[in-house]
Amino acid sequence: MSTNINTIRDLAEREYQWGFVTDIEEERVPKGLNEDVIRLISAKKNEPGFMLEWRLKAYRHWASLEKAQAEPKWANIKYAPINYQNISYYSAPKRKPSLKSLEELDPELLRTYEKLGIPLEEQKLFAGVAVDAVFDSVSVATTFKEKLAEIGVIFCSFSEAVQKHPELVQKYLGTVVPYTDNFFASLNASVFTDGSFVYVPKGVRCPLELSTYFRINAAETGQFERTLIVADEGSYVSYLEGCTAPIRDENQLHAAVVELIALDNAQIKYSTVQNWYPGDKEGKGGIFNFVTKRGKCQGVNSKISWTQVETGSAITWKYPSCILQGDNSVGEFYSVALTNNYQQADTGTKMIHIGKNTRSTTVSKGISAGHGQNTYRGLVKIMKGATGARNYTQCDSLLIGDKCGAHTFPYIEVRNSTARMEHEASTSKIGEDQLFYLRQRGLKAEDAVSMIVNGFCKRVFRELPMEFAVEAQKLLSVSLEGSVG
């Protein structure tokens, strides 16, 4: 037994390998938040009037929430109060981000993404994946743009969308996550600086996986990006986001908002591999990942599917949800959340059934190791008119070691008696029996742990695009190292 623990502990010393800092000249606004800062951000981005107005409304709402101390406190997470005046709300690499071609990109940035395994030169990319790279507050490069434009797919940074497609932005911005939604969503709406924008026109099946890679680089800044994806009637798009940050002793705030809209017969598949810096072994530093993600199945027969693999961040607070408004619409949520060392996660989903015969599936796999605390929080709400609604929820927890915790808070609200609900839950521990069995067959202790965990997560990995499933498995193994003790 003791050898088991030691081998694994040794591997724990392996460090977060995405923790480097890029030395690049940046432009940032002074710390603090007030209406002037918001006007400054909006002016820097040369935004039309409706955007500034929206931001100011959001800011005023947020300021009232802050005054009322309405930062959400119900989640099963603990952290020292955040001083929102001690954060810089805008940081951008100095060179102008509006590029004609990748050659104009700062070579230092290219090298950064290369180091992260995300080459931005199109010929080096995975065939079939277009990438938008967001560095601190701004999008620095979007690949395969022209190719996508030929079939009418818009894939660009949010800033560019505001300039080139203001009518689409104005029509859909805030329709799924209004600026009044919650404390962090309000904050995001006031200060968000960039993100990705996707519009897939009627009847188009987007031939590439669209992917955004988020990177926090600058110190004492927050990252507030906003993603908006609209799938018009009968269209399909698969989107993936990944994220990393340098190792820093202080916590950094990441408060993003993602809105998805699926019209009649449209389908959006949204996958996340979240690997923000999780803090060190003592729980120092790391990203506070306070994110609001929601999709609206607005049209009939539409479908939105969330898949997330959450291995990073000091704290994760995130509930990718589906509003099933169109009749026969389908919502799915597949999640793997891992907490090791002193990481905390409070994550899950909300499935709101409004339309008739709407269906939802939730599969959550929580893994706790070290002193990690992992909470599943889910709501299934069946509204009065949602005749024939169905939900299936499966919620499994795996414990590694005896200092971690797993918690489950499933909420179910049913207002229509025709609803069919299923809920399955389990909690298990990686046993010495399982480990010994695998090791007796020749597998090293750490490979044995990783095999058991990967088996546990299989149902979720199956939902990820192929290349990313492989990445996610590797990431999970690395994040787990040092977890038995």
Partner: protein, 256 residues
Amino acid sequence: MSLLEIRNLKVKVDNHEILKGIDLEINPGEVHSIMGPNGSGKSTLAQVLARRESYDVTSGEILYNGKDLLAMKPEDAACEGIFMAFQYPVEIPGISNAYFLRSALNAIRKYRGEDELDAMDFLPMFREKLKLLDMDEKLMNRSVNEGFSGGEKKRNEILQMAVLEPKLAILDETDSGLDIDALRIVANGVNAMRSPDRAIIVVTHYQRLLNYIVPDFVHVLVNGRIVRSGGPELALELEEKGYVEIDSETRQVTPA
């Protein structure tokens, strides 16, 4: 040189002495049966050989192929050619039998400096072994031991042994829970594996299995000691007289 040499092995579990001085020598090509009543220490011996770490070896030594077995981790012992068929094989949800077995084989090949096998190289060999154990290939796409019947689990153990081709195989009560047909299939599988450079240790309560796998040597383990050793006829004598009588006879001849 003998393949396995156990000298004066004493083992404690939870501060309770289970093995009280075992001496045993096994040569390549031999099949040894270790028989004994419940609680005699048979399984403990098997698990110590497989290097389970929750056992406290208080004295003695084990040489395997001339190397100090007690210094090896379970995976190293496995890679050096020791295989144990478990009495209670565990389930690994979400990992297919085929994938698991190929991973195990490749871990061993890697340890030995051999090339790893890809799925295409693995499959033909694997199919042949499946036939030997009369197992359905469909079972191999299912998760390791998940939803397997008791008999299927035991057959799966022998299948793994056939694929991993150990130098020393330890069958820990492989016959328990098997009906007569399954017993025959398992025994055939084991017999097919008998070879001049492989030794097999068959741990069992009952003589029944030894009708099918005929051992070269039988050792009777009672209360942490080997009280008698002999040829296959000893198993029959045991069946007739029972452990208590054999033990007391032994005590009269050689007082402890």
